[in-house]
Symmetry: C2
Subunit: 272 residues, 2 copies
């Protein structure tokens, strides 16, 4: 269980120390593991974590991939978090959100039981679905403008007042907490919008999925999104964890992380 308080100053110091905003996404799919791992997801996660520990600041755990395994998956999820330990920011990528008393239960699961530092939350149900996740020393990461193609179905809809839905979501939800306990998910596939979003929200951290397998441009995201504190957590999942299907999977994963870090260092150095 993570015991360190992963507040904003902790996160900023991690980024300065490691000169990266890289987040490794553990979307570990039992169907895609290297043969050598013989279907043992926990062993796979441990190997990836050991290989990438010093080249990333955060791990993002995609809950769906563990839930798909039932009881065994939840056991692996807990053990994976324990293995990460105390020197990284741990994101529960669970996309939760429900009426107040139910969101409280989800918060309990992810923060108290699993010891994660942050959770991704879907804002569609509004204030009482988001606020129960705002806890001292913990973070809520609200879906704003996601990386997938479906993000244009509703998030980009124009409102009567000329704003887009995701802009209204950010404006309203930013009043629930502050830049020390609230982040936003902004897909790497929208670098132009990211520039505008950063102008409107200079302080907030953004969690950026969509670099790598989904095709987002890393340079463009860094240029548009970094602020003086870093202000980004850029996630790569498949491109790192499946960098090789051979026995060198962890080593190749680390190389891919390092390749991204070379790009990141160009910008993180200058801005933070």
């Amino acid at each position: 269980m993570a015991e360190t308080r992963k507040d904003r100053s902790y996160l900023v110091s991690l980024i300065r120390e490691r000169q990266t905003v890289l987040t490794v996404g553990l979307d570990s799919d039992s169907q895609r593991l290297p043969d050598i791992i013989k279907g043992d997801i926990l062993a796979f996660n441990r190997a990836i974590i050991e290989a990438t520990r010093d080249v990333c600041v955060a791990y993002k755990i995609n809950f769906a991939f563990y839930e798909a395994l039932g009881l065994k998956g939840w056991e692996i999820l807990g053990k994976t978090i324990a293995h990460i330990g105390d020197q990284h920011f741990i994101i529960a990528d669970a996309k939760r959100g429900d009426i107040g008393n139910t969101s409280e239960m989800y918060a309990k699961a992810v923060f108290d039981h699993l010891g994660c530092d942050a959770i991704t939350v879907n804002p569609y149900m509004g204030s009482d679905s988001v606020k129960p996740f705002l806890r001292d020393g913990k973070w809520v990461i609200i879906l704003a403008y996601t990386s997938n193609t479906g993000s244009s179905d509703f998030q980009k809809l124009k409102l009567e007042n000329g704003k887009k839905l995701y802009e209204a979501v950010m404006e309203t939800t930013s009043t629930y907490g502050n830049a020390a306990n609230t982040m936003y998910v902004i897909g790497a596939t929208h670098p132009e919008e990211l520039k505008q979003i950063r102008a409107n929200f200079p302080e907030h951290f953004f969690l950026i999925p969509g670099v790598g397998a989904q095709g987002g441009d890393l340079d463009a995201v860094l240029k548009a999104g970094l602020n003086k504190d870093g202000g980004l957590l850029i996630n790569a999942s498949r491109s790192i964890i499946y960098a090789s299907s051979g026995s060198d999977f962890a080593e190749k994963g680390r190389e891919e992380a390092e390749r991204m870090n070379v790009v990141m260092r160009k910008y993180v150095d200058k801005k933070s």
Copy 2:
């Protein structure tokens, strides 16, 4: 595991046979159990299920309450579903939704692994987040206009074209599937809007939370929402499962269910 195909005709026949659209919500909170149950949630669920089996058509399982217990909670969740068996429609109230490959994993968890018949899904991420849940013989229940106060924060926002966001969500997502595999969540706290929604979507089933502890009016919902096939699943959780904190909790829960069924029969009789 539920093996029967819970398609539309099955659901309609259940409603005709039992003359009710009652759904019992198993939001079983370890902090609120009767003393006699000594914290044993599975025993509590089994007692509630045995007491209400013949007076409801569906059980809705609120995943948050089980996840909050960690590994043990997932075990109870699986055993609760197994105990419900084959003669009810089983709803995974999990409010999931993510990019395509991840939603597929959530579908796998809930349909393949747990054997549920339906899952509640949050539409904010659009088409590729919802479609992976559309499976032969299974149902997706899309959040449209929820029962909580936060539902007015975004769901009611007026779009440029004059429609409200929840109306756009229903219009767009209704093209993903059809009235035999898609339902909508409409809160009992909006009976006026329900009337209009029913006029626009005469065939779809609606899952209606918010009667009971949240204060929705049962008569108003039935009048506004029923169609020739029933077309509603009206959920009550706290008002039934916590009807008594004494040793008569199951019996009192059944009485509360019966009290609701007396109201339901007035309308279900006439319309179906």
